[in-house]
């Protein structure tokens, strides 16, 4: 019997396609997420908008909180560890979470290295802003990529920038010669063997989801049409006026992303979305997307 292989890790990511992964901070929110049609939940102590507001060091959640959430839902439970903090990841693995997010939303623990994720039994998801970053994370063992966007901003502009950048770079390398692929690998700090594979298949070796700024059903539809295979929604749900209704609407929009008539109905009467931030208002040292190397 084979267990914890890379194929099985990517396999779970495949099963989450066409769905919405929601940030939750307690078992009640987790239940709301499951009832609204979330495909998985991300258990964390504070959602990104509050991490941004509160400042200080953001760390892995208390295991009690994660266990509570695991006990309250039947869908997969994910949890975040700090970039490079393999001891936090070991603890999350011992809790048997279904996916670990080595996340820029938490304060990085290592400014040079990410976790070597092939050493773990639990699959990892990592953020990326471009193809080179995505392939570095996959090289380290990530089984799922999510575009970073700007977490807790409620502003879709960065998520769009990152998704377009990955999709365009994949298109570009598909037309390059082998010699040019090596130059691309060098200039973008990506493993050559993965660059070659992407150039041949025209897609990432793992599913590519979207995160960081989705606040409305239309945002989810936009990201899916741009090439996302699922959506992570952090602050967008539980920072809105009617979380359950908004959660359901974003789930429906992720399925019917290319059906404008349905999207119009789905978008009706959702009350206030989260307020959100203009990216220019965020001081550069507080840009979460800059974390990760």
């Amino acid at each position: 019997m084979k267990k914890n292989t890379y194929d099985q890790k990517v396999g779970l990511a495949e099963m989450l396609k066409g769905g919405v992964i929601m940030d939750v901070t307690n078992s009640e929110q987790a239940k709301t997420a499951e009832d609204s049609g979330a495909v998985a939940v991300m258990a964390l102590e504070r959602i990104p908008a509050d991490i941004r507001k509160d400042g200080g060091i953001a760390r892995m959640s208390d295991p009690v909180l994660i266990k509570d959430i695991q006990n309250s839902v039947s869908i997969p439970v994910m949890a975040k560890c700090r970039i490079g903090h393999f001891a936090e990841a070991q603890i999350l693995e011992s809790l048997e979470v279904d996916f670990i997010d080595e996340s820029e939303v938490l304060t990085p623990a290592d400014e040079y290295n990410h976790i070597y994720k092939h050493n773990f039994k639990v699959p990892f998801v990592c953020g990326a802003r471009n193809l080179g970053e995505a392939l570095r994370r996959i090289g380290e063992g990530a089984a799922m990529i999510r575009t970073k966007g700007e977490a807790g901003s409620g502003n879709i502009v960065e998520a769009v920038r990152h998704m377009r950048s990955i999709v365009n770079e994949i298109k570009r390398i598909s037309s390059l010669s082998q010699a040019e692929l090596m130059a691309f690998a060098k200039n973008n700090g990506a493993p050559y063997i993965l660059i070659e594979q992407v150039a041949k298949t025209g897609k990432l070796p793992t599913p590519n989801f979207s995160a960081g700024g989705i606040a409305t059903p239309a945002d989810a539809a936009l990201m899916m049409q741009l090439g996302a295979e699922s959506c992570f929604v952090g602050s967008g749900i539980f920072k809105s006026e009617d979380p359950q209704k908004r959660a359901e609407a974003i789930v429906d929009a992720t399925t019917y992303y290319n059906d404008p008539d349905k999207l119009a109905l789905i978008s009706e009467n959702l009350k206030e979305a989260m307020k959100g931030l203009d990216i220019k208002e965020i001081p550069s040292e507080q840009m979460m997307q800059e974390r990760g190397w």
Binding site: K2, E34, Q70, T255
Partner: protein, 192 residues
């Protein structure tokens, strides 16, 4: 032509398997998409999500009706949806009279791959089966005699057939082996 339920889950991989077999296929998101389909695949994914969406977007009754006359093939979450499951978040289509428990092997860390033997067309064939947060079929002793158990893992059924309906607790779309998809197409062609 085969429809693949595309509310959520890994429907694309089933589409790729059918492409390999030169079988026309379409993704099903609305009940009208079923018109002209000779069979339906319900893929793996999250059964809670698919069940909710099937009810909300009027696919539940149309799939149930479709299944009375035509072939349906469910994998993992698809097997749960074809069963008689009945809970707050999931109502099965009751196309197969089996009881199942969800995520019955545990969390992702317990997902596994194993070689299995499948009893089809009077031959035993080898197959590589991957189980991801997989369900288990309960109370084998009470399984209806009209059902055929096509494969076991450690004495418990993992692939089952009843007339035009087949279901697996594992993911036959994951390893480029079209054996089970071909078998499903044969069942459908014999019914035409």
């Amino acid at each position: 032509m085969i429809g693949i339920l595309a509310l959520q889950g890994n429907y694309q991989m089933h589409s790729q398997m059918l492409d390999k077999l030169n079988e026309k296929n379409i993704l099903i998101k609305n009940s009208s998409d079923l018109d002209g389909c000779d069979g339906l695949i319900i893929p793996g994914g999250e059964s809670t999500v698919m069940s909710k969406m099937m009810h909300k977007y009027d696919l539940f009754d149309s799939i149930k009706k479709f299944g009375k006359e035509k072939g349906v093939f469910g994998t993992c979450a698809g097997l749960i949806l074809m069963s008689n499951y009945d809970s707050e978040n999931i109502i099965g289509l009751d196309l197969l009279n089996i009881s199942v428990s969800r995520n019955a092997w545990g969390s992702q860390i317990n997902s596994f791959t194993n070689k299995i033997n499948i009893d089809i067309d009077n031959k035993i064939k080898n197959f590589e089966a991957t189980f991801i947060r997989a369900p288990r079929i309960k109370r084998t002793d009470k399984i209806d005699r009209s059902m055929r158990i096509l494969a076991y893992f450690k004495d418990e059924p993992i692939m089952i057939q009843h007339g035009l309906h087949i279901a697996t607790t594992f993911h036959p779309e994951m390893h480029n082996d079209t054996l089970i998809h071909e078998y499903f197409l044969n069942i459908i062609n014999e019914n035409k």
